[in-house]
Symmetry: C2
Subunit: 150 residues, 2 copies
Amino acid sequence: MTRVKQKSLANRELLATADQLHSAAIHLLRRLRVRDRESGIGPAQLSALSVLVFGGARSLGELADAEQVRPPTMSRIVAGLARAGLVRRRATEDGRRVRLEATAKGAKILWEGRKRRVQSLAQALSSLSEEDCQRLTELSGLLQQLLRKL
Amino acid sequence: MTRVKQKSLANRELLATADQLHSAAIHLLRRLRVRDRESGIGPAQLSALSVLVFGGARSLGELADAEQVRPPTMSRIVAGLARAGLVRRRATEDGRRVRLEATAKGAKILWEGRKRRVQSLAQALSSLSEEDCQRLTELSGLLQQLLRKL
DNA sequence: GGAATATAGTTAGCTATGCTAACTAAATGA
DNA sequence: TCATTTAGTTAGCATAGCTAACTATATTCC
């Protein structure tokens, strides 16, 4: 019965890969966080804003779901964004709901921040060999797939 | 002069890859954060503890550097960990420095938390096709390389 | 129609986590 | 020895996470 042995080995490899991915994600974001501070806007606000800019307008509850955060938390995050003029609250037919949309200023700030972050990464990427760089592109595609399963 | 054009095209691809990796890292950790809450210990404490458990004992300043955080912030994080009995402060020859080390309880809690996180990830991995899964395993090592450049 | 219930957001109050400024204590060195 | 540098802590502020409790609007059911 080599079957069992194979399965257990594969499982151990799976765990090792998962571990590597987890660690890589943590350290990646920790480095990039430094660049985010330049935007003068907190990480939660930045992330919520990015959902509105790249994903389009939506209600507070939907935004809270997207950000994996409770409504009261999102309520305060949005309050900060609105105070800074980066997000606008719109009324809907349903008087309970609000429609949240990014302002032009919000979109601009987000694009600039994203540019900074991504440039740091792209710079690191460019120091790798041509092949490794291509492999990383392939990897990022696989990661998207993985996320859909998570 | 196709050189310029090629470079600009390559650069655009680089940015796209960087963007994908960044987004993947954000969403990966956001999903896994849910599992972390089960440990009853905050994310910053968990992360600092993991440095001590997996990376070994070190001073407060070194830990702050590793976590990309200012000394006062780390001082408080460590205070919380010490209060919970997960970390021990040891005196060194240099009277100013402290040597921080994880306790057995700290190591245990961390391993359990890591297990939960990594299991979620491993489960998602196992739902991919055999080839994709293998490819991801091969490529995850590349991420470590990338991080060293960042 | 009108009362009971359900749903969307907000407010209040707690903890944790980030920062800078200012402090204490120990080591270094001129 | 006495000034300076270095390590860590304390104090005080802002952001961000949570639950509990509240308000206001929709929906349901009699």
